[in-house]
Amino acid sequence: MEDSKQSNNIRNQFKNLVDIVKVNISDYFMFFALVIIMIIFTITTDGVFISSRNISNLINQMGYIAVLAVGMTLIIVIRHIELSVGYLAGFLGAFAAIAMTFWGWPVYAVIPVVMILGMLAGMLTATPVARLGVPAFVSTMAAGLIYRGALLLVTMGTGTIVIRDPVFNAIGNGFIPDLPLEGLLPGRHKLTLLIGLIAIILSIVTSIKNRKTKLSYNFSVPRTSLFILQLVLVSGLIGYVSWILSGYNGISWSLVILLLVVIVFQFITTKTPLGRHIYAVGGNPEAAELSGISVSKITYIVFAAMGLLSSLSGIMYASRLRSATTTAGLGFETDAIAAAFVGGVSAAGGVGTIIGSIIGALVMMSLTSGMNLMGIDISIQYIVRGAVLVLAVVFDRITRKDK
């Protein structure tokens, strides 16, 4: 009697678990896909793919697209699109190069000025959209043409502008310094490991704190065993990534910027009223307006954020190349949009996460990097990336269709 009750109970719990997995499958799928893609490339390249050096490179190459993908996610969440970001990034990179090389501005002035310009540019593009309801497709395409022209104009006399400022160039190529501990763990970047350790401790402490708060509210929490499993998985992941990075030059400045962007935007979108308002506007603009949320204000804010991130992207790219070129930024918008969609945003609005888009960017960048290592021709690479994009979106549609 007791026994059958208990087995029933277990069966029910299992069923609940299956239900939860079913409901959330689309949320985790891309993460699993990423892991699988990485394992496949690791095998096909005899481990070169997962080597510290390659992963470090991959992250540096991904940085300037990933920051765009973060902004693009929010743009698509509020049912718009932003086609000018690539050219804007290119133009602002050139502006930074000119300011430093020809005008002799100090790098610490150039960077904030460029970021402010980016924000203003975003708000300018947003104006016809927010004020008059002009489709963002048109407004941003027009802006893209203008920035492209402006980029050609400023690089006309000189062609490529070489940047010599070491601080600026470190953004895309440099790494954080190491601790001066010669004897300890030779060949490893100690500060990277230390930061990894701190991150693990922080994540464990906040998880336990959140669980305690939930309990103090008398809310149900996952069982202790599940909770510990979760902690172990997350800690393991952070630890593994830090270990790999420490095998090469450690954490790069690009990664620092990317992490800061992700943390700030993840925080804003999930924890603050502003974030809630952005998703509400995307989910149902009319209901949002009647709830006292100004749709046009949110539109301005999101486009301004996109502009700011475009300026970061432009800085990271120019720094990585140590120069501004006439073709900088070409096609960035496509990569950013692809990353966002692979990461699960919905063009219908209101759906999409920052973390998802970062995973999307990682998937796309892993494909490029892995196929490069395998020596696959660029023509095939395009085809594969196109196929993966469409497959990801199709899968997302199928799993989300809950009718």
């Binding site: 603050t272 998703y279 149902n284 949002a288 709830s291 006292g292 209101g350």
Partner: protein, 507 residues
């Protein structure tokens, strides 16, 4: 005994976390009008969606027989072929297309590759005659009132040979006149041999028209009554539906002397750029503390426009006139300003502009007043859960959890979420636009009770309603609108259905 035209046996349908139908058995005789009643979330819509193939074969358990034959519909198309037509709770017409284009949408009459519009139009005329709708088939849907749109829906359903016509709350958005027309039409179809299944929360019309009534509660069949033999009346139905009796659907409230004036409109007019004409003309009304003021009128008389224009004018009309809140003139730039001035507006159309359907219950409830649960710039999600659970309990929102997407709730429960959202704003002036549309009697009673306790605490309510009994049962004072003007004002003691209607139809 004749085989029933439709038999559904032991139907069970589950969604994650909800058993919407639990072993339901449902049988319909040839040529009858069979009404399906039950509380919000009882499973009525789900049952007919199982029948029509929206939930395909294999996603439910149990068997469906039509004229004795087992059916395994995988899509709406297949059920249509078997002679089943369904009209959903939400209208599904394309506003920018004409009447005839909508009627043949998805089944276009073609001549080779191209649409044969002449043939379509001439057939449309015949069908429109059948449903007694006298409009030009070339009129765009958006230019028709809701009542006529509903008839177009039926015309669309009738274009093929229909054996069973299913209507899910067809009269929820209709006024008395349009409802009566529709009921007459259904009677006419019965004469022509069409079997009808009708879902409705308006018990009066159910009693008027039904041959048989089946009551669902919590996904189970409670009883099937023969309207011609068994004793059926409203109290009996209510008892079966909610499991207890409700003596008076409109709970009594101790009338108090109305307090100070909280809202006054002076010469309030609005011009719509879209329509190119005035939609509100010189409106003068007021509301006092502790008062329920009703605005009666026909569909399209400008009641919703009045509410929206005062509540921050989200539609961007050109306004003139003055609004006074607590005696102070206010100029709201947007709904946010109106909310700050302690107003709230529960919209008429919860799907279009009331709720974020893809988001969950708790986020919807907190949306208009996030400030209250923010500490240090961060939303306190634990507080949010408490708040949402509080309104879930208070309003008896039936949902497996407050994490459920609002889209997955039954219509009536969505309405309660919408109400909860605006109660959380703690307004002084609450504008309710058709507050009980699509809500079951039990829940109506609860909402009325809540309204009563709110005004007793000093809140003021401005209620727009198309249900005259609701207006007469709940309000203290009534304004009647017609064609954008206030046509009359009366105390509830002096009001009757007749004198309200007279003012409402008088232009």
């Amino acid at each position: 005994m004749q085989t029933p035209i439709l038999e559904m046996k032991s139907i069970t349908k589950e969604f994650p976390g909800v058993r919407a139908l639990d072993n339901v058995t449902f049988s319909v005789r040839q040529g009858e009008i069979h009404c399906l009643v039950g509380e919000n979330g009882a499973g009525k819509s789900t049952l007919v969606k199982v029948l029509s193939g929206v939930h395909p074969y294999g996603t439910y358990s149990g068997e469906i027989f039509i004229e004795g034959e087992l059916q395994t519909f995988n899509s709406i198309r297949e059920s249509e072929k078997a002679g089943i037509a369904i009209i959903y709770q939400e209208l599904a017409l394309i506003p920018e297309l004409s009447v005839y284009e909508n009627i043949f949408l998805g089944n276009e009459i073609t001549d080779g590759m191209v649409i044969d519009s002449n043939e379509s139009i001439s057939q449309a005329v015949d069908i429109l005659k059948k449903v007694g709708l006298d409009v030009n088939p070339l009129t765009k849907i958006k230019n028709l009132g809701v009542g006529k749109q509903q008839l177009v829906e039926i015309a669309k359903a009738l274009k093929k040979d229909v054996k069973i016509l299913i209507l899910d709350e067809p009269t929820a958005a209709l006024n008395e006149n349009d409802s009566d027309n529709l009921l007459n039409l259904i009677r006419g179809l019965k004469e022509q041999g069409v079997t009808c299944i009708l879902i409705s929360h308006k018990l009066r019309e159910v009693l008027e028209i039904a041959d048989t009534i089946t009551v669902l509660r919590d996904g189970r069949t409670v009883v099937t009554l023969d309207a011609h033999k068994d004793v059926v009346n409203e109290p009996v139905l209510i008892k079966h539906m909610v499991g207890r009796s409700i003596d008076n659907v409109y709970p009594k409230r101790e009338k108090i002397q109305p307090g100070k004036e909280v809202l006054r409109l002076e010469n309030w007019s609005a011009f719509s750029y879209n329509l190119g004409r005035d939609i509100l003309k010189n409106i003068n009304i007021n509301v006092h503390e502790g008062e329920i003021v009703a605005i009666a009128g026909l569909m399209g008389s400008g009641r919703t426009e009045l509410a929206k224009s005062v509540f921050g004018n989200a539609d961007g009309y050109r306004l003139s006139g003055k609004v006074f809140i607590n005696g102070v003139e206010e100029k709201f730039r947007d709904p946010g300003d109106a909310i700050k001035a302690s107003m709230a507006y529960v919209t008429e159309d919860r799907k279009a502009n009331g709720l974020i359907l893809i988001d969950d219950v708790k986020h919807n409830i907190s949306l208009a007043n996030l400030n209250e649960i923010v500490t240090g710039g961060v939303i306190n999600e634990n507080e949010e859960i408490l708040v949402a659970n509080r309104y879930r309990e208070q309003l008896d929102i039936r949902t497996p959890s407050i994490q459920q997407k609002v889209r997955n709730l039954s219509g009536g429960n969505q309405q309660k979420v919408s109400l909860g959202k605006w109660l959380f704003v703690h307004p002084d002036i609450l504008i309710l636009d058709e507050p009980t549309r699509g809500i079951d009697v039990g829940a109506k009673y609860e909402i009325y009770t809540i309204m009563n306790s709110l005004v007793q605490q000093g809140m003021s309510i401005l209620m727009i309603s198309s249900e005259l009994p609701e207006i007469l049962g709940m309000s203290d004072r009534i304004y009647v609108m017609s064609a954008g003007k206030i046509n009359g004002e009366m105390l509830v003691e002096d009001a009757t259905q007749e004198n309200i209607m007279q003012l409402a139809v008088d232009y």
